[in-house]
């Protein structure tokens, strides 16, 4: 099975719109939305949820006030500043290390499972979609991403589908590392802006860390010629093929407002560039 992960480093470069467009073009695939912090793909894919599961990860401490003698030991052990007035645990800060439970002389702290979100298996007009929702202020997005990809792979095998299309997480931290590990290829979507280029280099380094086949797509390529040149030179120095160059096109936003992918909505310049990029992808890395 082939797995293509689409990432960008910086948000707002059009990664999700492009993933949706590739989903509209590719056949025989499972789509996985690993941008669990701010999942948007479902807006364009209009999923009908088939299965819904709780995402339980780690634990959180709860103070049982009847047992608590307010000795204050737990506060000394907790390195996360999670125990507040009256020894009530602030779940936002609690990392679930369990030291307070372990060392409370009065057994007043208890670790309970933490439901951090939900994940879904859905039907869409482009085939199965795995997506999730992390509850506000919850962590563990890396684990949720790993779980989604595993479920995606299992489903693809079950249904004899040979491609996993993954909308990866932003940034260079925990969730994006979980999005990348073990995938076949990564498509980096950048744009010719100073900050996007800066972040792009950071994710390219990260992909290098995992020795992944890396490909580049330059979105809004007509915004600044010099930065496009800089991206191309950088790619050449790293032997990264620039697969797509997509012009700035208001149809991206219009298609989003219409709840459609660019491919369905428009036959303009940008849509044509995305089609061409997909052809190149399927001829090369995904062949």
């Amino acid at each position: 099975m082939k797995e293509l992960v689409i990432i960008s480093g910086k948000g707002g470069t059009g990664k999700t719109s492009l993933t949706a467009s590739l989903a509209a073009l590719a056949g025989n695939k499972v789509v996985v939305d690993c941008d669990v912090d701010a999942a948007d793909l479902h807006i364009l894919m209009n999923p009908a949820i088939q299965k819904k599961e709780n995402f339980v990860a780690g634990k959180v401490a709860v103070n049982n006030s009847e047992m608590c003698l307010q000795c204050g030991d737990c506060v000394l052990y907790c390195r996360f500043d999670a125990i507040g007035d009256y020894y009530v645990v602030n779940p936002v800060s609690c990392e679930g290390c369990g030291l307070c439970e372990r060392f409370c002389p009065h057994e007043a702290m208890e670790m309970v499972s933490r439901t951090s979100g939900e994940w879904y298996l859905s039907d869409t007009r482009f085939g199965p979609l795995l997506h999730a929702r992390l509850f506000p202020a919850e962590g563990n997005s890396g684990k949720l991403v790993t779980l989604l990809r595993q479920e995606g792979r299992r489903l693809a095998e079950e249904k004899g589908l040979d491609l996993l299309l993954v909308d990866g997480s932003p940034g260079v931290g925990c969730p994006v590392i979980a999005s990348l590990a073990g995938a076949r290829a990564v498509l980096v979507v950048t744009e010719p802006t100073v900050s996007a280029v800066h972040d792009m280099k950071r994710v390219v380094d990260l992909a290098g860390h995992f020795r992944m086949k890396t490909l580049m797509c330059i979105n809004r390529c007509d915004l600044n010629r010099e930065n496009v040149k800089a991206i191309e030179e950088f790619c050449e120095s790293r032997s990264i093929p620039v697969l797509g160059k997509i012009p700035y096109d208001g149809d991206f936003t219009k298609s989003q407002v219409a709840g459609k992918t660019l491919i369905e909505y428009s036959d303009g310049e940008a849509a044509r560039a995305v089609r061409k990029m997909w052809e190149d992808l399927s001829r090369t890395v995904l062949h």
Binding site: G9, L99, L134, P136, A137, G173, V194, S195, D199, L223
Partner: protein, 288 residues
């Protein structure tokens, strides 16, 4: 006043707005600090170009095992809630990347075979650009856990009339670490279905913290009116709408956006500041 600028996802113009707000206030004679807490993608200084005075390395404590003292009892493995220790053929292996530095293993080891050593996770730069003091964190590539670094950046609060915090995007631990202790939160969004969805998630997250909250709509006019309708329904104040312009987008691409932005949106930046004063009841002392 400490203002945290955040957004449900990246790319909404959060950093540009942080820079512009800081610049706008500095131009009016206030002492301003600008903190880059978006440590996974620290971009403030790409634009601010502050002279860096000092760089400080930030590390977290990580356990190491003294093989001579260790008897392989496995208590460390058992207490670790994060599976960061595995005892393999009588020897504990420590997986640094998933260790949360809770210190539990060191506390339970009966042989005192575990001690902690610092592991660098990133650094903090300090400097200034004109009247703006700058403090920014940068997470090392390959490091997974950013909140300790963000916490360390926040400790550098300088004495200022205004502190503007460029918070990381999203709705999970990093942004919570960045906004902690601020006086007000500005959520930046775009008037599109994605923008609205991300804004809703961000509002839900921030509501748990009970800080005064306002919304700035960036690139207004490019999409639909869903964001405005949502804010009206929820009773969230829209501090300002910044009109979409390709010119600004091109200036942004070239990295020269801030001055232009401050000139272009002078009125709107003023509205944001007075809106925040209204929301928080805080007013910076008049500058002589």
């Amino acid at each position: 006043m400490k203002i945290a600028v955040a957004s449900g996802k990246g790319g909404t113009g959060k950093t540009t707005l942080s820079l512009a707000l800081a610049g706008y206030l500095a131009n009016r004679g206030y002492r301003v600090s600008l903190m880059d807490c978006d440590v996974e993608e620290p971009n403030v200084n790409l634009f601010l170009k502050a002279n860096i005075r000092a760089v400080e390395q930030v590390s977290v404590p990580i356990p190491v095992v003294d093989g001579d003292k260790c008897t392989g009892c496995g208590l460390c493995e058992r207490i670790c809630a994060f599976n960061a220790i595995a005892v393999v053929s009588g020897k504990p292996l420590i997986f640094k990347d998933i260790c949360h530095s809770c210190g539990g293993c060191m506390l339970v080891c009966p042989e005192r075979a575990i001690r902690e050593v610092p592991k660098e996770i990133g650094d903090i730069e300090e400097g200034s650009a004109g009247a703006i003091s700058y403090i920014g964190g940068r997470l090392r590539v390959g490091e997974a856990i950013s909140p300790p670094l963000i916490g360390a950046v926040r400790k550098h609060y300088a004495d200022s009339h205004y502190t503007v915090i460029d918070a990381p995007p999203g709705t999970s631990c990093p942004v919570m670490a960045a906004v902690r202790g601020c006086d007000a939160i500005v959520l930046v969004t775009e008037p599109t279905p994605f923008g609205l969805n991300d804004l809703k998630l961000a509002v839900e997250t921030m509501k748990r913290l009970d800080y005064p909250l306002g919304v700035v709509i960036n690139r207004a006019g490019m999409g639909d009116d869903g964001v405005e309708r949502y804010c009206a329904e929820e009773g969230i104040s829209v501090l300002a709408s910044l009109a979409h312009s390709r010119e600004i987008a091109e200036k942004y691409a070239a990295g020269e956006v801030v001055e232009e932005f401050i000139r272009f949106f002078d009125g709107e930046l003023g509205e944001i500041v007075s809106g925040l004063e209204r929301l928080t009841g805080i007013r910076a002392v008049e500058v002589k």
